[in-house]
C-alpha cells in the first residue's frame, strides 16, 4: 500500500495543474494516469488555444502539454503512468491497476479526481459499421499516431470539436465532404466555422444522419434535413459517398469514481450530464475528495487548468499546507475563471455551475 498526502487521478490539464499548485503549496503528490503519457486531451490538439496569457492562449494544445510537463518536473510530484484508478472506497482507499498486470492500493490524505470526459454517441441505423467512429478516435489516430484515418469523411456535429477535427483532417489531406448539425445554428466558435467554410466545406445545419450505408464497411451516409422541431423532412434525403462518418455530438463527464465514492451527483445538461456537486473550494459532498476540469462539467482546457490550480490550492490547504498568499491566489484564479466564462460563449456554463453548487453547511 502506498500512503501519500494528495492523490490526483488523471494527468490532463486539470490534473497536472492541480498537482503543480498543490506541490507548490508544499504537499507531496502522486498522480495516476491511465495512458502511457500525460496531457489528456491536449496531446492531440495541434491548433492554437483561445483564452488569455495566463492559460497559454495562442499556444497549441500539444505545446501546452509540454509546458506543463516541464513544470511538473520541478516539484515533488510522483507520476505513475499506465496506471488506471479502479475504485475509491468508503475508507478513502483507492485501488489502481498498472499495465493490466499489477494491482495497487493507495491511502491518500485527499484526492482530486480529474478524469475528464468521454464522447457521446448517437443512435441511427448501422451505427456499428466499421468506418463510423468518434471524432476523438480519428483525431488520436491522426495527430498522436500519425495514421491517415480516412479518405472521405462526413462529420456529424458542428461544435468546436467537429469543426476543429474537420480542419485538422483537411490539413492531413483528407477530403471532408460536409459537416452536419441537427441544431439550426453552428454550436462551435464561428472563427473555427469560417476556417473550414473558406476551404469549401459546406456546413449543413438542421441536418442529421438518417443511416450509415455499407456491407462490411461504411461506403456512404444518408443524410436528411430536419424541421424546427427536429423531425426529419421526407424527400430531403441525400446519399453522400464516404468511407468514414465522424460522430462529434458532445462529451459527457467521467464521474464513475465519484459515484462509487458516494459523492452527490446531479444531472445538469449544460455541463454535459451527471456531474458532482461541489463547494467553492472544489470539494465534493464527500470530505477530502475534490474535483477539477471536465469531470465536473465539460468545458475547455483553459478553464480546466484554472480549476485544477484552485482544487490543488484548496486540497493542499485541507492537508495543512496553506501558502501565505492563499487568499490572493484563490481570488486571482477565480477572476480568471470569471473572465473566461463571462461572455455569451460561457452562458450555459454559468447556468450549469449555479446548479452544481454545494453548500456544505446546508
Amino acid at each position: 500500500m502506498i500512503t501519500c498526502e494528495l492523490l490526483v487521478i488523471g494527468a490532463g490539464p486539470a490534473g497536472l495543474c492541480s498537482a503543480i499548485t498543490a506541490a507548490k503549496s508544499g504537499a507531496s503528490v502522486v498522480v495516476l494516469e491511465r495512458s502511457p503519457d500525460i496531457g489528456g486531451q491536449l496531446i492531440k490538439q495541434t491548433h492554437m488555444f483561445f483564452g488569455s496569457k495566463e492559460q497559454h492562449a495562442s499556444t497549441r494544445g500539444v505545446d501546452i502539454a509540454e509546458i506543463l510537463r516541464e513544470e511538473i518536473a520541478r516539484y515533488d510530484i510522483k507520476l505513475m503512468l499506465d496506471t488506471t484508478a479502479l475504485g475509491i472506497y468508503e475508507d478513502g482507499m483507492v485501488t489502481a491497476l498498472y499495465k493490466e498486470e499489477e494491482y495497487m492500493k493507495f491511502k491518500p490524505g485527499a484526492i482530486i479526481v480529474a478524469t475528464g470526459a468521454c464522447e457521446r454517441f448517437l443512435a441511427f441505423p448501422n451505427n456499428d459499421l466499421p468506418g463510423v467512429c468518434g471524432a476523438g478516435a480519428v483525431q488520436t489516430l491522426m495527430n498522436v499516431y500519425g495514421i491517415m484515418p480516412a479518405k472521405d469523411v462526413v462529420m456529424l456535429g458542428a461544435g468546436n470539436i467537429g469543426l476543429i477535427v474537420s480542419y485538422q483532417l483537411m490539413q492531413a489531406g483528407v477530403n471532408v465532404k460536409c459537416i452536419l448539425d441537427a441544431a439550426p445554428k453552428i454550436g462551435g466558435y464561428l472563427v473555427h466555422a469560417s476556417k473550414v467554410a473558406r476551404m469549401g466545406v459546406p456546413i449543413k445545419t438542421s441536418h442529421t444522419v438518417k443511416r450509415a450505408i455499407g456491407e462490411d464497411h461504411l461506403t456512404a451516409v444518408e443524410i436528411v434535413a430536419l424541421d424546427d422541431k427536429f423531425n426529419q423532412i421526407p424527400g430531403t434525403e441525400e446519399i453522400i459517398p464516404a468511407d468514414t462518418l465522424c460522430v462529434s455530438v458532445g462529451l459527457t463527464p467521467l464521474c464513475e469514481l465519484l459515484a462509487m465514492a458516494g459523492c452527490k451527483l446531479s444531472y445538469i445538461p449544460q455541463l454535459g450530464g451527471m456531474v458532482p456537486l461541489k463547494t467553492g473550494e472544489y470539494e465534493t459532498s464527500v470530505p477530502n475528495i475534490f474535483v477539477a476540469g471536465d469531470t465536473s462539467g465539460v468545458e475547455e482546457a483553459s478553464a480546466a487548468m484554472v480549476e485544477g490550480h484552485i482544487a490543488g490550492l484548496c486540497a493542499a490547504k485541507r492537508l495543512g499546507h496553506i501558502p501565505e498568499d492563499f487568499d490572493a491566489q484563490y481570488s486571482s484564479l477565480n477572476r480568471q475563471l470569471m473572465a473566461l466564462r463571462s461572455g455569451p460563449a460561457g452562458e450555459h456554463i454559468r447556468q450549469g455551475l449555479a446548479s452544481a453548487c454545494l453548500n456544505k453547511e446546508a
Binding site: S52, I186, L190, V191, S194, M199, I203, S342, G346
Partner: protein
C-alpha cells in the same frame, strides 16, 4: 446566415475593413472576429497597442488603424486565424493580401495560385509574393498574394493549382 454557414456576409466583411484611405497608405490588419468569445492574444501580441480588447476578454477586438503598422504579428497569433493584412499602396492595379495558411505544401514566391472566397469558391488567379514560415510564426505560415484591386473584399483563402489537373 453566418450562424448557419460560417460565411460572413459582404456587409459584415466591409465593416471590419479599415477605410480605403488607410489601406491605400499601406499594410494594415483586418480583424475578422465577428462574435464575442473569451480570447485576447491579438491584443497581447500587438507591439504598437493598435488592437484593443480591454478588461473583458470576451470583447471583440477593435483596431486602431492609425497605430497599426501592418507587421502581421497578430496574424500568426490569432487562434481563430481570423486576421489578414491588406495593402493597396503598391500599385494602381493590385491589392496585396497576407493570409494565414496552415497547409502543405506551402506555395513559393512566384507561384500562381487560386484565390478563394470566404465560402471557398474560386475568385481569380493570384501571384504569390512571399510565403514566410519562420520559427517565430509557430507553424502558422503567412502567404502574401497579389489580386486585382476589385477583389480586395472577396478573397480570403488560396488553393494550390493541381499540376496534374
Amino acid at each position: 446566415m453566418f450562424e448557419k454557414t460560417g460565411i460572413a456576409s459582404p456587409e459584415m466583411v466591409l465593416e471590419k475593413f479599415p477605410p480605403l484611405s488607410r489601406i491605400n497608405k499601406g499594410k494594415v490588419a483586418v480583424l475578422e472576429c465577428y462574435r464575442r468569445i473569451p480570447c485576447n492574444p491579438c491584443e497581447t501580441a500587438c507591439p504598437f497597442g493598435a488592437i484593443e480588447i480591454g478588461e473583458d476578454i470576451n470583447n471583440m477586438p477593435i483596431l486602431h488603424a492609425d497605430k497599426c503598422s501592418g507587421c502581421g504579428i497578430c496574424l500568426t497569433r490569432c487562434p481563430g486565424l481570423a486576421i489578414m493584412i491588406v495593402d493597396t499602396s503598391a500599385s494602381e492595379e493590385y491589392a496585396e493580401l497576407t493570409l494565414p495558411y496552415e497547409f502543405r505544401p506551402l506555395p513559393k514566391k512566384g507561384d500562381t495560385v487560386f484565390a478563394l472566397s470566404r465560402s471557398g469558391e474560386f475568385v481569380c488567379e493570384a501571384l504569390v509574393l512571399s510565403a514566410l514560415n519562420p520559427k517565430s510564426f509557430d507553424r502558422t505560415p503567412a502567404v502574401r498574394i497579389r489580386v486585382p484591386k476589385k477583389h480586395l473584399y472577396d478573397v480570403r483563402n488560396i488553393a494550390l493549382i493541381d499540376k496534374e489537373g
